[in-house]
Assembly symmetry: C2
Homo-oligomer: 76 residues x 2
């Protein structure tokens, strides 16, 4: 089974990568880009029957720094 985890910086945490992308898009002539946030997506190929709780534990222990990052889990 597959699981997809999104890890994003929490609101209020400065995102210099996203800011750099926003600036670069403006330089390329794309107008109206009010904000950009960049995060990670992690696709996991897991044993059948792995629960969402297990994936959340992976996030808490390894995949996300929960001090500054939030995560979401999609199974399927």
């Amino acid at each position: 089974m597959k699981a997809r985890v999104h890890v994003m910086l929490k609101d209020g945490v400065l995102d210099p990568q996203g800011e750099a992308v926003r600036h670069a898009l403006g330089s390329l002539g794309f107008e109206g880009v009010a904000g950009v946030r960049q995060g990670k997506v992690i696709e996991l190929d897991l044993a059948e029957g792995t629960t969402e709780d297990t994936v959340r534990e992976m996030c808490e222990r390894l995949l996300a720094n929960t001090v500054i990052e939030s995560y979401s889990v999609d199974l399927g």
Copy 2:
């Protein structure tokens, strides 16, 4: 309006970050993790009426290296 772009390494392109995560999950005692791929997710806050074609152009010109990366666009 919001758009979300996923950028992943293409199949067959070595993903050392994903491999490191897979190994680390095993070291932490998570079993059955057959594979991990890590990519980027970029959330864009765009002017109303921005088309998917415009976002795809952003991907082609800046957000993805289409030689080794594939991307997908979700508007909404």
